[in-house]
């Protein structure tokens, strides 16, 4: 057989495409919609100065602990759901779990709230969604106090699990107030219906009705009551430990240790020439165990004067550590002078932006006008930072608070990652105007010559 004959045979062979190729487009569409729904980390308007970062960590689930727990049937699914959280893993290991087992069905969807991990400041809800009709379910939730009023807490949603049987996780974090005895969790579910996503044929017309914002296929409302033995767990120590970082005066004013996380409260001197945007730091206990920053909410500012920011770490609660040491390896500083720019939402025209920051696009995501800015990453280990300030102003003079922000690595049109650039997207929810004023945070990074090591006593 000569080469040309081989070529013709190879062409014939390649004409046979696998059946899996037929559903390549619906698979991509389903993944696209899952990403849109799951990439948000939500915080209510009360969390004025909340700073968020989403880190995708490749963590090996097969740790000795995970193996040990996998032998306990009741905790197996829960162990898988907390694979990325050392603090929650430790909570399960110490049987610090409240079993709930509440179930509701709405239409074709059943939601079961299975477990809670609760302490004085945080509630972690673990639940499942199932349906005989829908293969892929996504959702979003909100919380209210027992009297129906909005609760002042930040919500973080974990990524939608790839296996629908896996437990899902919502973290509810209270800043000033303690976790109450009762909370109401409202949860709305969307579905990616396989039948709807069937491959369109040429003559049937392709999505005559282009997919719009998904309608909820189920709505649930669960009243969660917490065991007071759990909601009382936590301790706070007042500290007065000043230190200097990059010529700026700072002071550790508090250390709070809870089963689900640790908070280190740092106050900034009013005379400082710049303010902290974020810190690269970690904790170490007297046994040499290291506690890094968690996923989800990593810091929360009180918005007061002088500024106090509460930095979150994985918890030392179950390690029974006698002492904790704070290691600071770098900081991102932010200009104290506010830098407001006006954005024309119809043309995308903006006032000049700080060096390196650009408005990448304005688009509708789930029906909400969303602005995406690109900015350079500033320091190793802290890829994302806050680019847009928490408040935005409308032409009628009213002020609004961003309820969400999301961060991703920037990609060019070919899908190739742009090195050293990330994107921050902020949605203008319920915003009828075609112009908006935003505060752009002008930042630079600095690392001390040697890390600052601060025993917290």
């Amino acid at each position: 057989m000569d080469r040309m004959e081989e070529y013709r045979l190879l062409l014939d062979e390649l004409e046979q495409t696998p059946s899996g190729l037929e559903s390549a487009l619906p698979r991509a569409r389903a993944r696209y919609r899952r990403r849109r729904l799951s990439r948000w980390i939500a915080a209510p308007a009360g969390s004025v100065a909340a700073m968020f970062a989403v880190f995708v960590l490749l963590v090996n689930l097969v740790t000795p602990f995970a193996l040990a727990c996998s032998n306990i049937p009741i905790l197996k699914e829960l162990t898988a759901a907390v694979a990325f959280s050392p603090s929650l893993k430790a909570s399960i290991e110490h049987e610090y779990v409240q079993r709930v087992a509440q179930s509701q069905t709405d239409g074709d969807v059943t939601m079961k709230v299975e477990y809670l991990i609760v302490d004085q400041k945080q509630v972690n809800v673990f639940f499942s969604l199932s349906s005989d009709r829908y293969s892929q379910l996504d959702g979003s939730g909100d919380i209210r106090m027992a009297d129906g009023q909005q609760a002042h807490a930040s919500l973080s949603f974990s990524q939608t699990p790839s296996d629908p049987k896996e437990l899902r996780h919502i973290s509810i974090d209270f800043q000033e107030e303690d976790v109450p005895d009762t909370l109401i969790l409202d949860y709305k579910v969307w579905a990616a219906d396989d039948t709807e996503a069937a491959v369109p044929s040429e003559d049937s017309g392709l999505w005559d009705d282009p997919p719009g914002d998904p309608d909820a296929v189920a709505i649930f409302s669960f009243t969660l009551q917490f065991d007071p033995n759990f909601t009382s767990q936590g301790s706070q120590i007042t500290l007065d430990q000043p230190f200097t970082l990059d010529g700026q005066q700072l002071k550790v004013v508090g250390l709070e240790i809870y089963p689900t996380h640790v908070r280190v409260d740092i106050q900034e001197d009013e005379a400082n020439t710049v303010q902290i945007n974020s810190l690269t730091c970690w904790l170490e206990d007297d046994k040499g165990v290291r506690y890094d920053r968690p996923q989800g909410l990593i810091a929360h500012g009180d918005g007061g004067t002088p500024r106090v920011t509460s930095y979150r770490f994985e918890s030392s609660y179950f390690e029974d550590a006698q002492h904790l040491t704070l290691h600071i390896e770098g900081a991102i500083w932010q200009d104290k002078e506010e830098h407001w720019v006006t954005v024309d939402l119809t043309t995308g025209r903006t006032d000049p932006l700080p060096d390196g920051i650009t408005l990448a696009r304005i688009e509708e995501i789930d029906g909400i006008p969303t602005l995406t800015f690109r900015a350079p990453t500033l320091a190793d280990g802290m890829v994302f930072r806050q680019v847009v300030g928490p408040i935005y102003r409308a032409p009628d003079g009213s002020e609004h608070h961003f309820s969400m922000a999301s961060h991703t690595i920037a990609r060019d049109e070919d899908g190739t990652e742009l090195e050293g650039v990330f994107e921050e997207s902020v949605p203008l929810k319920d915003y009828p105007f075609d112009q908006v004023e935003l505060e752009i945070l002008d930042c630079y990074s600095a690392a001390p010559e040697s890390p600052i090591v601060l025993p917290l006593r």
């Binding site: 991509a28 392709l206 070919d414 899908g415 190739t416």
Partner: protein, 154 residues
């Protein structure tokens, strides 16, 4: 480009994308994964494609990036090594599919796009972001190594 236009064009192109990925990666499963990734990334960025006439080369470029990423990822597992352009006799002794897989990466890309995905010289140049003269040169070298007597015209 709207999502509907993206879907229509993708449906028409997907078989050619699969053939390209299959020749790059040598396995049905890996090729399907690469096509999935390319379509997903295309969907993610389709609104930024301002000139729909470049759709085919744009999505092909995304696919090639996805294939190269996959090849980099499993570089250590790959038993197949590229052969140098000087190993003409070795190419003669290999089945065509295998010989294509072992071409140097630059030559392989040109051969796959030109003779298996059916892109023109100009489209291949656009997809690979290289001058058409370079495509011609690489095409000539690759055809010669593979002992294929195919048209070199656009």
């Amino acid at each position: 480009m709207t999502e509907q236009e993206f879907a229509t064009r993708t449906e028409a192109l997907k078989a050619r994308l699969y053939r390209t990925a299959y020749l790059y990666l040598g396995s049905e499963a890996y090729a399907l994964d690469a096509v999935d990734e390319a379509i997903y990334l295309g969907l993610l960025h389709h609104k930024r494609l301002r000139q729909p006439e470049h759709f085919n080369t744009w999505l092909t470029r995304i696919l090639i990036n996805a294939c190269n990423a996959e090849l980099r990822r499993r570089k250590r597992e790959l038993a197949v090594e590229e052969l140098p352009e000087t190993a003409a006799e070795t190419y003669d002794n290999l089945p065509l599919k295998e010989a294509i897989r072992r071409l140097p990466r630059d030559l392989r890309a040109v051969i796959i796009l030109r003779y298996f995905q059916g892109l023109t010289l100009a489209e291949t140049a656009e997809a690979l972001e290289i001058p058409t003269g370079t495509v011609s040169t690489r095409q000539r070298k690759a055809l010669s190594l593979l002992k294929l007597e195919l048209s070199e015209e656009a």
